[in-house]
Every structure is written in structure tokens, then in C-alpha cells.
């Protein structure tokens, strides 16, 4: 059956798959959010140990999701991979850099003789959760605001802004998406920790986490609102389905949402689910808020990615040369490769299945203080 799909169907499928991976990554940034909360919510060494070890059992999943997001884009939309990574060089390098220092920090933080000292590794975690996420948000923002590149007849990229991608962070729109993601990650981080930790040994941590859920949600709101309102009123990029010519039109993204009410539905449902999670944990006594809020984040992510790419919209527009803009149609791999990769993608449910199984097996008992003190357990 997969073998008979036509190219444009495969291109849609792969944008949806990439969007799912990207949105799952946004959910998994609860790890990064938790990292930035460390100094704020954990007052004692024990509390810090709990936070770090609770997050430490998940950080690699987040990291791997990011790597897969990059890999999936490379395989399915190589022109985007080549244009954006080679063009917006510095923004990606800095993002990656924050993940490099994150990767050693859990393991090295508390180990004796670790050269840089515990505080430095905690700082690395903080940088990853703030600058790393902020820049990812700014980079995604350019799906709407456009970038500065020209492709020649061999599809080689020339970037026309000397800041090589960092210019993305100087747009209020991109910046507010980035800041929203940072606060949202902190909301998710606090929700996850409330869910994952057994507070019997350290009573003070729980109320601080619950408060953090609420406070960070309130902080995230203005940025989300600015992003959404601006998205609805801004000019956008559109492709003429007949000629393939790209042009700028007013209210393009509003038009996309109206033309695809299910995407609008995803967006609204996503926001409501996040609010549900926040209220259940921040205002009431619930401990499972991470699940609705996580699902909500995935929904919001999906709606953003779909708005950027569907309904004849180039998802990586170029301001410098409109006709160089990338769409799911001109940036994708060949029919053969997309077909082969779609067979591989049949494994996604298997992967999600064993992740869920292991997650459940490992987390059915909450992480408590005794475990970290016991001689038996391994911990960060």
C-alpha cells in the first residue's frame, strides 16, 4: 500500500511525521524546564539530588528526540536541512552547543574530581534550558517571519545576512515564541517533578514546585498571546498552486487556520489542555497535570507546524528571494526515498510502545529520598 502512494501524499505524511517528532520534543523539554528550576525550587542538597535524578532518567529521551527531529528532516526534506543548517549557521551551532554541555552535566555534576565543580555543571544545565530552548523557538519562528537566503540553480545556499541565523533572535515575534517555550518548558518541568517525586522526605519542595507551575504559566501567557495575535494579523507567504510562484499576502496564517479548522481546533484544544494541567496541579492537589499539559503542548506544536506548511504555504520562506522559499513540495526527498522511509516509520509505534512500557515500569514507584541515600542505587 505504501508503495502506491503518490509523491505529494508522501510529502504530507512526512511533514506530519516530522511535526509529531518536533512536537514530542517540545513536550519532552520538561527536562530543560526542570533544569532551569533547579536553583529556584530546590533549597537543600537532598532536594537538588531529587530534582536532578528525576530529570536525569529522562534527559536522554529528550536529547534523542531532538536528534531524530534533525535526522527526519535530513532524510525527508534534505533541502531544508542543507539550507537551514548551512545557512542559519550560528543559531544552530549555539543550540547544539548547549546540548553538548548538557549531555555530560548529569553524569559529571556530582562525581568527585570533575574538574569544573558542581556549580558549573548546574550552570550548563541552566544554559541549555534557557538559551537552548529560546533559540529553538526563535528558529521555529522563522518558519513564519522568513529568512535571508538565495538558492542558485543547483540549489546551493547563499545566506545574505552576515549574522548567519542569529538575526532570528532580533525579531519580537520569534523572540516571544522562544520565551514562551522557555516558560512552557518550566511549567512542564514543574508538573513532571510533582508527578515523579515522592515528597515524604522533603516537604518543602512540593509547594515550591506547585507554585512554580502557576507562576511560570502566568509568565508564559503574554508571550503566547503576542505570538498568536501577531501570527493572526501578520503578512504571510503563499504559493500559487497553479504557477508555484511565491508571494507575500496579508493575513495568510489567519487564512490558513480558517481554511483548516481542525488545525485551529488543535491549537485551542492544546491551550485548554495546558490550562487544565496547570489548574489541576497549581491550584488543586493533583499530581497528574503533566499528562494533559504535555498532550496540550504536543497539540499546540502540531498546529504551529501545520499552519507553517499546509494550505500552499512555504514552511521556510526566504525574504531575500521569495522564489527560493522552501515548501514541502520542493524541499523533499525523492519518491523512492520517502517511500522507503515510510516503511521504516512503521516502527514508530513500536518505539513509542517500548518507551511507554519502560517509562511505566521505572516510574510506577516515585523517586524518594531514601533511594538516593541507599547504598544499592546508582544515582547522579
Amino acid at each position: 500500500m505504501i508503495g502506491n502512494l503518490d509523491l505529494s501524499t508522501l510529502q504530507y505524511i512526512w511533514w506530519i511525521l516530522a511535526s509529531i517528532v518536533g512536537s514530542l520534543f517540545l513536550f519532552m523539554t520538561f527536562v530543560q524546564g526542570g533544569q532551569t528550576l533547579l536553583w529556584q525550587v530546590a533549597k537543600t542538597d537532598d532536594e537538588k539530588g531529587l530534582v536532578i535524578n528525576s530529570l536525569g532518567r529522562k534527559w536522554e529521551l529528550t536529547f534523542t528526540t531532538l536528534v531524530l527531529f534533525g535526522g527526519a528532516l535530513f532524510a525527508a526534506f534534505p533541502k531544508f536541512y542543507a539550507t537551514s543548517f548551512g545557512g542559519a549557521y550560528w543559531v544552530w551551532i549555539l543550540i547544539l552547543f548547549t546540548f553538548v554541555v548538557q549531555a555530560v552535566s548529569y553524569e559529571f555534576r556530582k562525581k568527585p574530581n570533575n574538574l569544573l565543580g558542581t556549580g558549573t555543571y548546574e550552570l550548563f544545565l541552566f544554559i541549555n534550558g534557557t538559551i537552548g530552548i529560546l533559540l529553538i523557538g526563535a528558529a521555529v519562528g522563522t518558519f513564519f517571519t522568513g529568512s535571508n537566503f538565495v538558492l542558485n540553480e543547483y540549489n546551493w545556499v547563499r545566506w545574505t545576512n552576515p549574522l548567519r541565523g542569529l538575526e532570528a533572535a532580533f525579531s519580537l515575534f520569534n523572540l516571544s515564541l522562544g520565551i514562551f517555550l522557555v516558560f512552557n518548558a518550566r511549567v512542564l518541568g514543574a508538573l513532571y517533578l510533582v508527578n515523579n517525586i515522592d515528597f515524604s522526605g522533603c516537604k518543602g519542595l512540593e509547594p515550591r514546585l506547585r507554585k512554580a507551575v502557576l507562576v511560570n504559566f502566568l509568565c508564559s501567557l503574554p508571550f503566547l498571546l503576542y505570538f498568536l495575535v501577531k501570527l493572526l494579523i501578520m503578512d504571510g507567504f503563499t504559493i500559487d498552486p497553479q504557477t508555484g510562484v511565491v508571494s507575500v499576502v496579508a493575513g495568510k496564517y489567519l487564512a490558513n487556520l480558517l481554511a483548516m479548522p481542525w488545525v485551529l481546533g488543535l491549537l485551542l484544544a492544546g491551550v485548554l489542555l495546558v490550562i487544565w494541567g496547570v489548574v489541576a496541579t497549581g491550584l488543586k492537589e493533583g499530581t497528574s497535570g503533566i499528562w494533559p499539559a504535555g498532550l496540550g503542548t504536543v497539540f499546540v506544536g502540531l498546529s504551529v507546524f501545520f499552519t507553517a506548511a499546509f494550505n500552499n504555504t512555504p514552511f521556510y520562506p526566504s525574504k531575500a528571494d521569495l522564489q527560493s522559499s522552501l515548501s514541502i513540495f520542493n524541499a523533499s526527498s525523492s519518491h523512492y526515498t520517502l517511500t522507503a522511509m515510510t516503511y521504516v516509520a512503521l516502527l514508530i509505534p513500536v518505539v513509542l510502545g517500548y518507551i511507554a512500557y519502560v517509562w511505566h515500569a521505572m516510574d510506577s514507584k516515585k523517586l524518594g529520598k531514601e533511594e538516593l541515600l541507599s547504598d544499592e542505587a546508582e544515582y547522579y
Binding site: 534523542t64 535526522g71 534534505p78 548551512g86 547544539l96 562525581k111 526527498s333 522507503a340 521505572m362
Partner: protein, 511 residues
């Protein structure tokens, strides 16, 4: 189509790739090997139920974890460096090259990441059986990831299963199975993973030898040595076997690389194998100087190994550069001429299409198709540019092979003496055991030097030189990131070594 500018840029981009890859390769082979050793140790624990095996397993796992973290840290850069520094490459071959990378993420990295958490933190949270299963999954996951990245690398050495699409100006996949099961991919995967097993075994031997020298944890050390030397010996033999296979595929698919690592300048029938030699540094393509200052040669062996046929002709560097019509070898000089035609015709095709001149486009395309096999050569200016740096390639290869032979010996002696329980008193041998890990690192890095320096000037063998594969970016940016990574990785490396040594000093009892 292309200006031959930016040599400095290309060299910095190359340096950066070499730097990041070689750093990454300090940690990866240990992950490949130690993950399986941990799985063996834990299997013995589960089978015997003996507490000492549990402690032993957990000790090696702790060291494994320290190494794993920095392996991950240095790896993420590589995944994206194709895009940042080699953007034209990413576009031109992304249709083929991207797939294995994505598959690696999906099928291998998640296996590692998910079960790693169980392996480390699950001792009291899941059943014994499931824990053991998880440890095996980590080992299988890391080696699966090696499979996919080596398939990708093998494809760069021997591009197959694809065709050039002139409209998009890129290569497109035609047959996934050809890419996956190409002989080069198979020999890469087997040789590289087994060399990782070898290195993991050396690590265990090295640390255990140190304990025996210090008279600490003697029982654990000896138990570890037995398992590691069996695994190491088998791996080392397999490394030799697959290495021979790799050299054979080189002779068939990348004869220039073979000629460089053998120091073979003039092709010969019944060519001899240089077992040991010092190259003449003044030797250049086409001159009549003696290539060696000193050499020990095994007569006829190279012909046998390279072509599996005694007395056969093995082309040398000069034959590959200037051609040898008597032996039917086309030189780079002729290939460059043909490649330039291919480039011209591709440009003519593009132009004709723009003007809507279908007839002209068709003619150009036909001509292009006749010459496209030489496309990459068209970007070279002189045939001598097709020669990789001979010295580094030659010495790296010979160091790797010599050390490979030594390791077989080391594993064998360690196995025999430990089985007879006579290892403890052998101070000299134990010192060699400690040292062997560093020799292992040298052999392993040297292997990549052979594979990658020997491939120059190509990013994709014969099709895409590195000068074209690069990103259009200012040198300053690449230089800056080079030093950024140099400093960061060096600092993290020092930290890792410090932590590792401390944990070894603390030993299996403490934390």
C-alpha cells in the same frame, strides 16, 4: 558551476570534522565494546546468582556510564555538522545519506536511551530478568547505531544504489538494499564494531592489570580479565579477518586509497606487501625517485591480498594519476577531461531548459549521461589532486596492522596466564596490559585516518570533491567553531579522564 575558491575554508571544515570525529571516536568504541562486556558480566551474575559478579557488573557499568555521557555529547555535533559545514553535500546526497541517519535515530538511539535508564537506575525497580534484558538492549542499540552510521560512511566510499537527477542537481536513491548491503558497508560495519569490542576488552584488561599491580580487588580483576581476554581474542582475530576484507574492497572500489596506504607508486604484477618501511618524503607523482628509504617486503603478497589472485596486477598511484593503457587503467588526467565535459553539459542542459529549448536540452542531457560517471573529476584542476596524503595514510595503516597483531598476542597470553592463575606476579606483562589500552586507541584512530584521509580529495568517491561539498560561509565562522569545539571537548575530556581515574581508584566497593 563552481569556482575553485575557498581552499582555506575547506581545510578548516575538514579540520573541524577530523577534530570532532576523532574526539567522538575516543568514546564510541568503548561504548560498543563495554556495553557487551557489561551484558556478559551481568549474564554471568544472573546465571550464578553470585553477589561478587553483581558488584563487578556494577563497577564496569559505572565506568561505562561516564564514557557514555561524553560520547553522546561529542556525537550530536557530528549529526548536524553535515549540514553546517557541508551544506552542498547535504543537498546533493541528502536523498540517500539522510535515510540511514534518520533510521539510526529511530531504531538505535531510542533503544540505547530508553534502556540505559533501566540499566543504571533500574536495579531495584524492575525484575532481574528485565534488567538483564535492558543491558543487552543497550549493547544491541549502540551497535545498531554503528551499523547505520557505517552504512552512511560506506556509501560515501562506494556510492551505489543511486542515480543523478539533473533537474534537481542531486543524487537520488534507487535501491535501498544496495546501499545497506554494499560490500563496503558490510566490511566497515564488521571491522569497526569488532575493533570496538577489541578496545572495550583492552579497557577492562588495562584497568584490571592496574589493580593487580597494586594488589587491590584481585579476585574481581582476574574474573574480569578472563571474560575480557576471551572476548578480546575472538574480536582481535575477527578484526584481522574483516580488515583483510576491507583492504580487498579498497582494492576493488578505492584503488587509490589502497595504493596510498601501501605506498605503491608504480603498479606491478605480483606486487609485494611492505611489512615495514620508511617513505621517501620527496617522492612526487610521476617522478622516478625511489619511494622508500628503507623497506621490508613480502614478495607477491599484495597481489594475493588485493585481488585474491596471485601474480595479478595492482595499480599504483602513478597508474591511477596518469593512466596505464597496457593494464587498462584510466588515469585521473583523462577522467578530468571527461568530468569537465559532464559539468559543461549539465550547465548547457540547465540553460536550455530555462530557455525552453527542448531539443538542445535533450542533446546536452544525453552527452551528460555519457560522461556523468566522471562528474567529480571535472572539479579537479590537475590529476595530481586525486592523490591523498600518502605519508599519514601509509603510517597509520601500518601502525594499525602491527598493533592488531600485537593485541592477538596480548589477549592470548593474558587468557592463558589467568586461567593458570599465574598472572599476578607478571609485573612486566601487567604493565603492558595497562599500556595496551593506549595502543588500542592509537590503532583505532589510525583506522579512521586510513579510511578518511585515504579517501581525499573526495567527499563522495569520484563524484563530489570536498571543495564542492562545503558550505558557502566565511572562514572566520568555521575557524571560530573549530576552536570552540577544540576547547570545549578538551576541557570535557580532561574532566572525564579525571572522573574516570577517580572512580577506578575508588574501586568497586565505594561510590
Amino acid at each position: 558551476m563552481l569556482e575553485q575558491t575557498g581552499l582555506e575554508l575547506v581545510n578548516w571544515a575538514r579540520a573541524q570534522f577530523a577534530l570532532t570525529a576523532m574526539f567522538h571516536w575516543i568514546f564510541v568504541p568503548l561504548t560498543l565494546g563495554l556495553s557487551f562486556l557489561c551484558a556478559f558480566f551481568e549474564s554471568i551474575y544472573v546465571k550464578t546468582g553470585k553477589e561478587e559478579w553483581r558488584r563487578l557488573t556494577r563497577f564496569w557499568m559505572r565506568l561505562f556510564g561516564i564514557n557514555f555521557a561524553i560520547g553522546v555529547a561529542t556525537g550530536i555535533i557530528l549529526e548536524f555538522e553535515f549540514g553546517t559545514n557541508w551544506s552542498n553535500y547535504s543537498w546533493m546526497v541528502g536523498d540517500i545519506f539522510g535515510a540511514p541517519l534518520a533510521i539510526e535515530g529511530l531504531v538505535a538511539f531510542f533503544l540505547e536511551a530508553t534502556f540505559f535508564a533501566v540499566m543504571f537506575f533500574g536495579w531495584d525497580r524492575v525484575s532481574k530478568g528485565f534488567h538483564l534484558f535492558s543491558t543487552w538492549m543497550v549493547a544491541i542499540g549502540s551497535n545498531l547505531s554503528a551499523l547505520w552510521i557505517l552504512v552512511a560512511n560506506g556509501w560515501m566510499q562506494f556510492p551505489t544504489g543511486m542515480a543523478f537527477n539533473p533537474d534537481k542537481a542531486r543524487f537520488e536513491m534507487q535501491n535501498f538494499w544496495d546501499v545497506l548491503f554494499s560490500p563496503v558497508a558490510v566490511s566497515k560495519f564488521t571491522h569497526t564494531t569488532s575493533s570496538g569490542f577489541l578496545l572495550g576488552s583492552l579497557f577492562v584488561i588495562s584497568v584490571s592489570s592496574w589493580y593487580l599491580l597494586k594488589g587491590r580487588h584481585k579476585d574481581m580483576a582476574k574474573k574480569s580479565i578472563v571474560v575480557a581476554s576471551v572476548f578480546g581474542l575472538l574480536s582481535a582475530l575477527f578484526v584481522g579477518f574483516t580488515g583483510d576484507e576491507a583492504a580487498y574492497t579498497d582494492a576493488q572500489k578505492q584503488p587509490m586509497k589502497l595504493a596510498a596506504f601501501e605506498g605503491l607508486w608504480k603498479g606491478q604484477e605480483n606486487a609485494g606487501l611492505v611489512a615495514l618501511g620508511v617513505l621517501n618524503p620527496d617522492k612526487r607523482p610521476g617522478d622516478d625517485k625511489d619511494p622508500f628509504i628503507f623497506e621490508i617486503r613480502v614478495p607477491g603478497l599484495l597481489s594475493l591480498l588485493a585481488n585474491r589472485s596471485p601474480g595479478s596486477f595492482v595499480p599504483g598511484i602513478d597508474d591511477l594519476v596518469y593512466g596505464n593503457s597496457a593494464q587498462g587503467v584510466m588515469g585521473a588526467d583523462e577522467k578530468i577531461k571527461r568530468g569537465k565535459v559532464a559539468i559543461q553539459q549539465l550547465a548547457a542542459y540547465k540553460k536550455a531548459q530555462q530557455l525552453g529549448d527542448q531539443v538542445a536540452a535533450e542533446t546536452a542531457l544525453q552527452k551528460f549521461n555519457d560522461y556523468k560517471a566522471y562528474l567529480g573529476f571535472g572539479y579537479l584542476d590537475s590529476p595530481e589532486q586525486a592523490v591523498p596524503p600518502v605519508g599519514i595514510t601509509f603510517y597509520s595503516f601500518h601502525a594499525m596492522v602491527a598493533l592488531g597483531t600485537l593485541f592477538i598476542l596480548i589477549f592470548f597470553i593474558f587468557l592463558v596466564l589467568t586461567m593458570k592463575d599465574r598472572i599476578e606476579g607478571q609485573r612486566a606483562l601487567l604493565l603492558l596490559g595497562v599500556l595496551s589500552l593506549f595502543l588500542g586507541f592509537i590503532a583505532s584512530e589510525a583506522g579512521w585516518v586510513v579510511a578518511e584521509v585515504g579517501r581525499q580529495p573526495w567527499a563522495i568517491q569520484d563524484l563530489l570533491p570536498v571543495t564542492v561539498a562545503r558550505t558557502d560561509i566565511n572562514v572566520g565562522s568555521v575557524k571560530t567553531t573549530f576552536f570552540m569545539f577544540l576547547v570545549t571537548f578538551t576541557v570535557l575530556f580532561i574532566a572525564e579522564v579525571g572522573i574516570m581515574l577517580k572512580q577506578i581508584q575508588i574501586g568497586p566497593e565505594g561510590k
